[in-house]
């Protein structure tokens, strides 16, 4: 039971991990404080349009073409990005781990069929798939999350299957079989928990990608129109790119910081997991 605590300790000793955690903590704080610091709808008109940044103390980062507060949008946008990133990663990992575990455990024809489906999903560009799915199902937050997961579950599925194939030959699985556990029970209670740690390391990368895909969908106007996202802010600012470039540039910096934080955390995590493996 000490393993997770040790991994956390090693994570806190890696500079990349600490930097990533710090950035993400900052973003989480921004996302959680958004409703208190900027109550009301961030899409509502708050002041004069196109106020330049650093000129009006009421709007530290200025206002957009319609007079909406950029800073409020930035804080509320952090909510959308983090929520979509985490939810899409959770859905893809749960679905992928489930499919991978079933494929690895069942073997034979089931395995073959499931892996061909995985191949097919990996052959189609994930972004194109997301685009098609959103256009069919209509743009809303849950649909965007599912659309992103549609292109991201194959990585965890492959990884989980590989882990299962190596774990199922081990003694404790044989022991579970000997005491008469049902194969499904062995898969869920014995094999899946052991296959999970490397899948979780992949999770961070998926969160980063999900944030990027969500922003690209919103940028193309396929995000949920009722919530403010960094991608939609960039798209909105693009209309006045020549006269007010900050409107597009500022939300993009939010995206870079988020994704960088996630990747740094992933690097710290994989360092921590690698040193766990190095010491038996």
């Amino acid at each position: 039971m000490n393993a997770p605590i040790n991994t956390l300790g090693r994570l806190l000793r890696s500079p990349a991990g600490v930097a990533g955690l710090a950035l993400l903590a900052l973003l989480a704080l921004a996302a959680l404080s958004a409703p208190f610091l900027f109550p009301g709808d961030p899409l509502a008109i708050a002041g004069a349009p196109l106020t330049p940044p650093f000129t009006d103390p009421a709007f530290p980062l200025g206002t957009d073409r319609l007079g909406r507060n950029v800073l409020a949008g930035l804080f509320h946008g952090a909510q959308a990005s983090l929520a979509v990133g985490l939810a899409a990663a959770a859905v893809s990992i749960i679905a992928g781990a489930l499919v991978g575990t079933i494929a690895g455990f069942a073997g034979g024809l089931v395995d073959e069929a499931l892996m061909r489906v995985v191949d097919a999903f990996q052959t189609v560009p994930g972004f194109l798939l997301a685009l098609a799915f959103v256009s069919v199902a209509g743009a809303s937050l849950p649909v965007v999350i599912l659309a992103i997961a549609l292109g991201a579950w194959t990585g965890p599925a492959r990884l989980a299957r590989a882990e299962v194939l190596s774990i199922r030959e081990r003694d404790y699985v044989a022991a579970a079989r000997v005491i008469g556990m049902h194969p499904a029970e062995i898969a869920l209670r014995e094999v899946l928990p052991n296959a999970l740690p490397p899948v979780l390391a992949l999770a961070a990368v998926i969160v980063g990608n999900a944030v990027l895909i969500e922003s690209a969908l919103s940028f193309l106007g396929l995000g949920d129109p009722n919530i403010v996202t960094w991608g939609s802010m960039i798209a909105e600012g693009r209309n006045v790119l020549r006269s007010a470039p900050f409107l597009s540039i500022v939300p993009g910096i939010g995206l870079v910081v988020t994704v960088l934080g996630v990747y740094l955390l992933a690097e710290g995590l994989s360092d921590a997991l690698a040193s766990r493996k190095a010491r038996p």
């Binding site: 061909r116 489906v117 191949d119 097919a120 990996q122 052959t123 189609v124 560009p125 994930g126 972004f127 194109l128 798939l129 685009l131 098609a132 799915f133 959103v134 256009s135 069919v136 199902a137 980063g208 990027l212 922003s215 690209a216 940028f219 193309l220 396929l222 960039i234 693009r238 790119l241 020549r242 470039p245 597009s248 540039i249 993009g252 995206l255 870079v256 994704v259 960088l260 996630v262 990747y263 740094l264 690097e267």
Partner: protein, 329 residues
């Protein structure tokens, strides 16, 4: 060579079921869409009477059960007929063939840029893991990898098109310029510079990081020690022994990233208004053109399979350990 051909044949055969899943899957996905091609067309002309709807459905082949339409679609695919685009009112295969070259130029140039510069900088970083040069390049590439490509494109436009006026903001070439031959090629290259940078820089960071990681691992191998024991210089070991072995995984990565790059070109082509394959996908979504979108998904799957085939072949020719009976990772 024989070995490579056998591998090619096996890969071709195994890609048939995958393609079938893609076709049937995308067919059913777009079947779920509310409304069909006839509705989309009626919307564009402002409505019509039931007789017109009936006639349209008949001409688009929208009558009959889902399965019979799937069968119709599959049989026309065999004749390389992808169907009829509603919003463009022309055959889809011709439309895609017309748009594809622009995207292939964009992607090809982005791959060339990211692969050469990325692996070269990766060699610089990986020849001395832990040095200040390595730290700078590693951190820089991680930051670059976190940048959304469409935003990078906008930033490049602000700097190089709006402020410095060095590059055009949009399009693939100067319209109606009448340029031919080399002058036209130069014009296209001038238009593609910013989009290629926006798409390629992210992959440059990826290749840099992979090369660097591969080299850092290779230094710990026995052959690195053996080369040093033979008294070879550091730079020579780094380039001819370490980097050479770290390069192969990058070729695999190239195949793995083909799909993601094709997806990335959708947004980049939208930012720079390049009339390519990716922009076509966005137009298909905006115009609710389900047959066109199905065709685009299918063609992109074929492209990704072809790229991966080429990568596998290159791998088989480069690495003698890859046997015809062996499954490559």
């Amino acid at each position: 060579m024989n070995r490579a051909l056998r591998l090619l044949r096996r890969r071709l055969v195994s890609s048939i079921p995958v393609l079938l899943i893609v076709i049937v899957g995308s067919f059913f996905l777009l079947e779920l869409a509310p409304g069909d091609a006839a509705d989309a067309y009626l919307l564009s002309i402002g409505g019509g009477d039931p007789a017109l709807v009936q006639a349209l459905r008949q001409s688009y082949g929208l009558e009959g059960s889902t399965l019979s339409r799937l069968w119709l679609y599959l049989t026309s695919l065999v004749r390389l007929d992808l169907g009829w685009s509603v919003i463009f009112n022309r055959p889809i295969s011709g439309l895609i063939l017309e748009r594809l070259p622009n995207t292939l130029w964009l992607m090809g140039s982005a791959v060339a840029l990211s692969f050469t510069v990325g692996s070269a900088l990766g060699i610089v970083a990986g020849s001395k893991p832990g040095s200040w040069r390595d730290r700078m390049l590693s951190t820089g590439s991680l930051a670059l990898y976190a940048v959304p490509s469409f935003w990078l494109g906008l930033v490049l436009i602000v700097i190089f098109s709006v402020q410095l006026r060095w590059f055009p903001t949009a399009g693939i070439e100067t319209i109606a310029s009448g340029r031919q031959g080399l002058a036209r090629a130069r014009d296209i290259a001038w238009h593609l510079a910013l989009p290629v940078a926006a798409l390629g820089l992210i992959y440059l960071a990826l290749f840099l990081r992979m090369m660097r990681t591969g080299m850092a691992e290779a230094w710990r191998q026995d052959y690195a020690l053996a080369a040093r024991a033979r008294g070879l210089g550091h730079r020579r070991i780094a380039v001819f022994h370490i980097a050479r072995n770290a390069l192969l995984p990058l070729v695999t990565m190239l195949g793995l990233q083909a799909a993601s790059m094709l997806g990335g070109s959708v947004v980049i082509e939208s930012v720079f208004a390049i009339p390519g394959f990716g922009r076509l996908a966005q137009e298909a979504v905006a115009g609710r053109d389900a047959p066109l979108l199905t065709g685009i998904i299918l063609v992109s799957a074929v492209l990704v399979i072809l790229v991966n085939l080429a990568v596998d072949m290159a791998y088989a020719l480069l690495d003698p350990r890859v046997g015809a009976n062996e499954v490559t990772a």
